[in-house]
C-alpha cells in the first residue's frame, strides 16, 4: 500500500504543557487507522493538526509527499466527522450534505445525485428535507458522515464520532462504519478512547499515552503482544506482574521459575509480564503451577470474573465454569500464555 500521510517529529504544546512529544507516524492508503488512548493523550490534537485546525510547534506533516503544514484546512483533501457532529443547524439534511459540493460549485444535478447516493449509503433516504436539529443522535451522526464523504476526500478523520451514542447503537455504527470504509475504499483515521471500538474496526491501532506513541500494530498484535505495561493495561484486562528474565525462555516471578517462549532479553533483566485473564485455567490444586484461594466470583454474562488470592498477589481469571468461593485451587497456564515486556523507559 502507498504511504499517504506522514507525521515527522510532531511537537505541540498548549500554554507550556507538552501535548505531543515528537510523533512519528505513517498512514497508508485505504487503511483504517485508530488513534487510541486515554483522554488527554494527544490523539485529538494530532487529528486536528492533520485537519489543519491547529498547527504544530515543531515537525512536518506530509500528505502525498507534499508538506501541508501551511495549507489552510479548506484547501486540504481531508474531511472530518466532528465529535459532536457540528451539523449546520440552519440547514436541512440535504443542504448540510450538499454544503461542500456547493462550495466547489458543482452543478445542481450532480449535487443532487451525489447527495442522494450518499444518503442512501448511510441509510437516510427520504430524510432530505428534515431539519437536522430534529434528528436523533444516530441520524445526526450519519448526516455528519455523509456530509464529509460526499466530497470524496482521500482521507476521512473521525473524532470520537460514536461517543454520544448508546451502547447498542454504537455497536451497530461500528460495523456500519467499517462497511462504509470498505465500500468507499479510502483512508479512515479514527480517534477513540474505547479499546473495544479500536479492536473491532481497525486495520492498525496506534496506542498513545501522554503525547507519545506507545505501540503501533494490528489489533491482534496490540492485544497479544503488548509492548509495555501501559498498552497491556489499556487494552483489555490483564494480570501485569514484575519478574526477572533469567535467561532465554526462562522467567522468574513470585519466587518460581517458569518456562516461556520469549527470548533475546538480557540475562537477569527485570521485566514486566502479562498474563491475560482468559489464558489462565482454574484446576484442581495438585495440578496447578500456582496455588491460591478463590476470593470472589462475579457473573459477567459470557464468563465469570474470578479473583484468586495467592501469597504474592491477586489474579484475575475469566472462566465459563462456576467456581466455589473460598476453595483452594491451582492455576495453570502454558508457556505461550506468558508475555514478557521490557519495563517502560528501558527500551
Amino acid at each position: 500500500m502507498r504511504k499517504l500521510i506522514e507525521f515527522q517529529n510532531i511537537v505541540k504544546s498548549f500554554n507550556d504543557s507538552l501535548v505531543l512529544k515528537g510523533i512519528n507516524l505513517s498512514i497508508h492508503e485505504n487503511e483504517f487507522v485508530t488513534l487510541l488512548g486515554p483522554s488527554g493523550c494527544g490523539k485529538t490534537t494530532l487529528l486536528r493538526i492533520l485537519g489543519g485546525f491547529i498547527s504544530q510547534n515543531e515537525g512536518h506533516v506530509y500528505f502525498d509527499d507534499i508538506e501541508i503544514s501551511n495549507v489552510p484546512p479548506y484547501k486540504r483533501e481531508i474531511n472530518t466527522v466532528f465529535q459532536r457532529y457540528a451539523l449546520f443547524p440552519h440547514m436541512n439534511v440535504f443542504d448540510n450534505v450538499a454544503f461542500g459540493l456547493r462550495i466547489k460549485k458543482q452543478d445542481k444535478n450532480t449535487i443532487e445525485q451525489k447527495v442522494k447516493k450518499m444518503l442512501k449509503l448511510v441509510n437516510l433516504e427520504g430524510y432530505e428535507d428534515r431539519p437536522v436539529t430534529l434528528l436523533s443522535g444516530g441520524q445526526q451522526q450519519r448526516v455528519a458522515i455523509a456530509r464529509a464523504l460526499v466530497n470524496e476526500p482521500m482521507v476521512l478523520l473521525l473524532d470520537e464520532p460514536l461517543g454520544a451514542l448508546d451502547l447498542k447503537l454504537r455497536k451497530e455504527m461500528q460495523i456500519e462504519l467499517k462497511k462504509i470504509q470498505q465500500e468507499v475504499g479510502i483512508t479512515f483515521i479514527y480517534v477513540t478512547h474505547d479499546q473495544e471500538e479500536a479492536l473491532t474496526m481497525s486495520d492498525t491501532i496506534v496506542v498513545m499515552n501522554a503525547g507519545e506513541i506507545q505501540q503501533i500494530g494490528t489489533p491482534t498484535d496490540i492485544y497479544n503482544e503488548p509492548e509495555n505495561r501501559f498498552v497491556a493495561d489499556f487494552i483489555g484486562e490483564s494480570n501485569i506482574l514484575e519478574g526477572v528474565m533469567l535467561e532465554d525462555y526462562k522467567v522468574k516471578f513470585d519466587d518460581q521459575v517458569f518456562e516461556c517462549i520469549d527470548y533475546g532479553f538480557e540475562d537477569n533483566l527485570e521485566v514486566d509480564i502479562v498474563l491475560r485473564p482468559e489464558d489462565i485455567d482454574i484446576v484442581p490444586i495438585e495440578m496447578g503451577r500456582i496455588k491460591g484461594v478463590i476470593k470472589s466470583s462475579l457473573f459477567k454474562g459470557v464468563h465469570f470474573e474470578v479473583v484468586v488470592e495467592t501469597p504474592y498477589r491477586e489474579w484475575i481469571i475469566h472462566t465459563t465454569d462456576k467456581v466455589e468461593v473460598d476453595k483452594e485451587v491451582g492455576l495453570h497456564f502454558f508457556p505461550e500464555d506468558i508475555h514478557i515486556m521490557y519495563k517502560m523507559g528501558t527500551y
Binding site: Y74, T80, F82, A86, L87, F88, P89, T133, N151
Partner: protein
Amino acid sequence: MKGYASLVKPYILWMSLFIVVPMLLIVLYAFTEHGNALMAFRFTLDNFMRFFDPVFIKVLFKSLEVAIITTVLCIIIGYPIAYIISNTSERTQTLLILLITLPMWINMLVRTYAWISILSDGGILNSIFEFFGLAPIKMMYTDFAVMLGMVYNFLPFMIISIYTVLAKLDRALIHASHDLGANPIQTFLRIVLPLSMPGVISGITLVFLPAVSTFVIPKFLGGGQYMLIGNLIENQFITVGEWNFGSAISLIMAVIIMGSMILTRKIDRDASDTASVEGGKLW
C-alpha cells in the same frame, strides 16, 4: 410554591398604580377634549385628527428616518466590532465588553452634555482643527451631531446583542465549514451571518425603539429647531400644555412601536424557523 404565589401581589399593586393607571390616563386624555377639569370629559377624536397635519407628519417621518439611519449605522459599525470581540481570547472579551458597557454607567444626559463641549464652535474638536490651521466647522445643531449622539448612545446595545449570539456560536461549525472547503469569507456568509441574525434582530429592536422616541439627544445636539416626535410630545406637555394632543401623539407612537416590534418578531421567527432552534434567541 403556592404559598409564594401571593408574594406577587405587591408587584401587581405597584405596577397598576405606576404603570397601568398612568397609561390609562394617557388614553383618557387622548380621547377627550381640552382642559384639566377632571369632571368635564367629552369624547373626541380631534386630537388624532390634528396630528394628520403635514407639519406633524413630516416630524414623524423625520423621526423614523433618523431612527432607521441610526439603526443601520449601528449594525454596520456594531457587527464588525461584535465579530472581532467574539474572536478574541476569553479574558479580552470580558474586558472589551466591560469597556463598551462602561459609558452606560454614566447618565445619558451627562454624556450628551459631554458631546456638546466636544462639538460646539469653541469646543475640543474645533480647537484641535484650529491648532492645525483648519477652519472651524459648524457641528452643533446639525443632522451630523444628532446622528452622532444617537449612534454613540445606542451602539452598545447593538454590539452586545450581536456579540451574545456570536460568542455562543459553536466554533466547531466554523471548523466544519472550513473542513468542507469553504474559505473564511464563504464561511462567514453561509454560516456565521445567518446564525447570528437573531442577535442582529434583537439589536434592531433595542436600537430602533428608543431611537424613534428619544427627545434628549435631538434637544441638546440638534437644538430647539430640531424637532423629532419625542420633542414634539415633550413640547405639548411641558411648553404648550396641550396634554390631550400630547397624549394622542404618544398613543400613535405606541402603535407604531408595537407594530414594528411585531414585525421584527415575525421576521425573527421566520428566520429561526429555517434557522431552527440552536442559533440562540434573546427573547
